[in-house]
Symmetry: C2
């Protein structure tokens, strides 16, 4: 699932003199991303991060400038990964089904693990809002990037007649994302299963 992202970010550094790195920068970045996704930015301590990445403090600061710089890189990676996955899904099952898969994955995660992590960008948006200016700016950029990607998918589905909703693609994209992101926080706030099920139904209606 991540190999495409891997290729995208791959540093492919030309072999220099000296002892070569014993870890792959992108591989440990992916590990970091999952750790941040699970625990959030502030609640991720440097020590736990180093354990998750399997590298030492000195290597960490030599490779990534700081915790914030690393986090910024994982946000970019997350957006690239998500968009790449959606493109793949579109090729395999079509645009509309690709979007529905997203909500299905959330429910699957809830049923299998008993919890939902939500979207890393939205989680981070809430956490960084009014606290980390640079990160907030980046999150806004990635978020709008993703809305455009969703709008592309919806336009594709509209062209094929899979979606009949007369509203323009970007509007539908925004409403779909909003309902899905709402669903996440609603689950995390402890809503009833009846409400959760109806919100899934709501998502389907948006793409009709």
């Amino acid at each position: 699932m991540y190999h495409l992202v891997y290729n995208t970010l791959m540093t492919n550094k030309i072999q220099t003199r000296g002892r070569p790195k014993t870890f792959d920068e992108t591989e440990v970045l992916i590990l970091a991303m999952h750790h941040f996704w699970e625990h959030g930015y502030d609640k991720t301590s440097l020590d736990s991060l180093l354990k998750a990445m399997g590298i030492k403090k000195s290597s960490f600061y030599a490779t990534f400038k700081s915790k914030e710089e690393l986090f910024s890189k994982t946000l970019e990676l997350y957006r690239e990964q998500t968009i790449q996955s959606l493109r793949n899904l579109k090729e395999n099952v079509g645009a509309k089904e690709a979007m529905l898969t997203l909500s299905e994955l959330t429910i699957k995660e809830l049923k299998e693990t008993g919890k939902v992590r939500g979207c890393l960008l939205v989680n981070s948006g809430k956490e960084c809002y009014n606290r980390y200016e640079d990160l907030s700016r980046q999150i806004s950029h990635e978020f709008n990037f993703m809305q455009n990607m969703f709008a592309e998918l919806i336009q594709d589905a509209k062209d094929k007649g899979e979606i009949k909703n007369p509203k323009d693609a970007k509007t539908i994209a925004g409403r779909y994302m909003n309902t899905l992101n709402g669903l996440i926080v609603t689950i995390q706030a402890g809503a009833s299963s009846e409400l959760i099920e109806d919100l899934i139904e709501n998502l389907k209606e948006i793409l009709e």
Copy 2:
């Protein structure tokens, strides 16, 4: 706005011997609630909390058992306050308009302060999710309590013909809350003003 809550929670303690408390328990609880609302639970340090409440550490621990106990009390206060405000609004402007006022307040807050705090319960739900068992349980309880309150309002509006949506009141309540809570995180993720405006429109459509 808070005086009704104040009366509800008022301890009205019978005068005992000894030096009387120089602060009102409920008053400092309200101050604490606003501080938590602004900064979240984890990011609120005890020191900043004490400053906001205007009491000393010794008095704090003598009155409230711990930071978590205090936070739990503020969550209950928040729910009571919100429900009381909605009841008042319903008396003054009617059930449907009362609900629309909520989203208007969010936009007003955004325009006046440049940011949105969101719902304390939802914020806390995200923060406590999978981390604080007791608090999560309580948040779930308060959240469902509020959904029922919204459902009451909607039923009232349906009875008066203000809302024609054939879905049952509790379902509409859930969708309204979900879209509103989605709107909050969408704003905090840095969505465009076009998206924000359409989501307000979406909220209105839900109550038609």
